[in-house]
């Protein structure tokens, strides 16, 4: 079974704090993704990575950065958290072909006060 884990299920941070969300997978997948999910907006892609140290912006990268130093680990960084970044964050992995399914982690619900 594919296992995708995220560092926290729930997180509460203050405005201006630097926030790290970590995602680890055990399937040796090249592709990893970070999404945020908000009511009525569905899943929106923040960043994705197709190899170690390779990253590309998704649809809503502003206010976020990512790091992929090892194949199994993909980190999402909120440089200076703001209240509009309160959301559910989901990490996913996928084998190289676009015809492969994405496997999701359990999600991190982030509240920025």
């Amino acid at each position: 079974d594919v296992k995708v884990t995220q560092s926290s299920r729930y997180l509460v941070k203050r405005t201006g704090e630097k926030v790290f969300l970590e995602c680890v997978q055990d399937m040796d997948h090249e592709n990893m993704f970070w999404y945020r999910q908000d009511p009525g907006l569905g899943l929106r892609l923040i960043y994705f990575s197709y190899d170690v140290k390779m990253k590309e912006k998704g649809d809503i990268p502003e206010g976020y950065s990512v790091s992929r130093e090892k194949k199994e680990r993909f980190s999402l960084i909120l440089e200076s958290a703001s209240t509009n970044q309160t959301s559910m964050y989901l990490c996913a992995t996928q084998a190289p072909s676009g015809q492969e399914t994405q496997y999701f982690g359990p999600g991190t619900r982030l509240l920025v006060l």
Partner: protein, 112 residues
């Protein structure tokens, strides 16, 4: 650019049928369907590739019409366990590019 799903929400009684549509303004190469239960991560249901294929799993099936750039998910004789939000995930773009985009989501509630 995000594929539009319809309806946005649907309420069914156990045993009733439902159809969820996923429509794109861009060419699609494959469509994946996922179900997400409240408080949980999305779970893969099935994948459809080019060629107008249909697939089925138990009482859930789907079709993909690449010419119309749309896919439909069919839930027959719905069960309480079908409740959740359904997303289509689509691989789209021009030749040589790759983009994977999720649809807007459809919330489905099955009542006893």
């Amino acid at each position: 650019q995000q594929p539009v799903q319809s309806p946005q929400a649907v309420i069914l009684r156990e045993g009733e049928d439902a159809v969820i549509n996923c429509s794109s303004s861009k060419a699609l190469y494959s469509v994946h369907w996922y179900r997400q239960k409240h408080g949980e991560a999305p779970v893969f249901l099935m994948i459809l590739l080019k060629g107008g294929e249909q697939k089925g799993h138990d009482k859930i099936s789907a079709s993909f019409n690449e010419k119309k750039q749309q896919s439909s998910l069919y839930l027959t004789a719905s069960q309480l366990s079908y409740s959740g939000t359904y997303f289509c995930g689509t691989e789209m773009g021009a030749s040589g590019t790759y983009k994977y985009i999720f649809g807007t989501g459809t919330r489905l509630k099955v009542l006893a």
